[in-house]
Assembly symmetry: C2
Homo-oligomer: 220 residues x 2
DNA sequence: GTTGAATCTGACAATTTGTCAACATTCAAC
DNA sequence: GTTGAATGTTGACAAATTGTCAGATTCAAC
């Protein structure tokens, strides 16, 4: 728990080694990055398969093919590892969505495309989304400089809603930040329900996009 | 993990002791119920304060004033205890909301009252709501006969929406089950954001109820 | 008071987490 | 190619936690 080697600045791959805070340390070696990558891949697999409770650091390091102590050189503890997994998954989802939004302009089309991308991502990465968007504060309380993936996502939606509002596409009385969070809530809950209930994807997308557009533009 | 003494049927206080499945065992004694109650109270406090990761069974039993082994007489493990805590909290919230819905008839008024009740409950039980509604599957996978609190809640909303739909208060094209989940998503996400951002309660309620009514009744 | 069932306790076994000295690998300078 | 410093890893073992259960305590019935 006092091991400083695992101290990281968010997603930035640059390590800041304690005792030399003025100068950024050189980029980590290929080997180090490879080890970290393998650990995270193993962690992802196990967190999704077994859940947080039953996943042990020793299982992660074994599956990753690294020594048990290596786990602690990269992460402070299981929670820290989970957080990185969640952040990585969240970033992947965001990138995935960006690709699908490249040629989209209208609000309706945009929402529909995002939902499609989310379902597609979920199909290829079963269980990852729920983990990525879980309430981190339920797992561990206290100050963390890392922003929860779900909040980051909601803020991105807020930016989009703000833009739509300026273009007159979304209603003027819509609070972008709240709207961003509502959209995330609808997607999280609706998506989880659709998946669990085995509901047809097209149907789910239809219903979710309708609900979302209605919160943004009531006269629909 | 093979200790059958902690085998429980949901919330029902009646124990079924293995080996005598045909006959229900007598109700647990006051002492047993008292111990369980104390353990759950301690668990609640610690899960909320420290989060799941940092809460240890030994801390729970100590705070509860019972022996360390007593914890395992009541719960299979930490997760099992968490699940019971979440279920209890969820049931409390539901009861709290019921009280506040007693004299309510219109859709708008109903939603507003529910939101008020939720904020009130959250103020008196900081952190409990998030824990109660968290994604259990992220903590532990596998078959469980217990329904997630958040799903139960969404289903109750679905019943309400169904009723509103029949009365022509909610739009006919609204799918009650999806709507129930959307409402829960909006409340969860919107409530968490409002709390974290220190937003005025009246403002939050206004924005959340507006979003909810718009998903149910677009011409608003 | 005695009996026996129910329930609890905490010592200890079993398991897991976390540490770090020793070792292995990499890489730049020569 | 060799050298030596820097970096990264390993797994034995210390420390901590989880889980078990023989013995202790409680309580209701007689």
């Amino acid at each position: 728990m006092t091991n400083n080697h695992a101290h990281q600045d968010g997603d930035n791959a640059t390590l800041t080694i304690d005792g030399s805070e003025e100068a950024a340390a050189p980029a980590p070696s290929k080997r180090r990055l490879e080890s970290r990558k393998r650990i995270l891949a193993a962690a992802r697999k196990l967190f999704v398969e077994r859940g947080y409770h039953a996943t042990r650091p020793q299982d992660i390091s074994k599956l990753a093919g690294v020594g048990h102590g290596t786990f602690y050189l990269h992460f402070a503890d299981k929670f820290d590892c989970f957080l990185s997994f969640a952040e990585d998954a969240s970033a992947e989802l965001e990138a995935f969505i960006e690709e699908h939004l490249a040629d989209v302009n209208t609000l309706d089309e945009g929402i529909r495309e995002v939902l499609k991308a989310i379902f597609e991502f979920s199909a290829e990465n079963a269980g990852v989304l729920a983990a990525a968007l879980t309430d981190i504060n339920v797992l561990a309380t206290g100050e963390t400089d890392k922003k929860m993936p779900v909040d980051r996502w909601a803020e991105q939606w807020a930016d989009i809603v703000r833009k739509w509002s300026e273009e007159g596409v979304a209603a003027a009385d819509v609070d972008p930040m709240f709207a961003g969070h509502f959209i995330v809530g609808i997607i999280r809950q609706g998506g989880a329900y659709a998946h669990r209930a085995g509901i047809d994807q097209a149907e789910a997308i239809e219903k979710m996009s309708r609900a979302i557009t209605r919160t943004l533009r009531p006269n629909n």
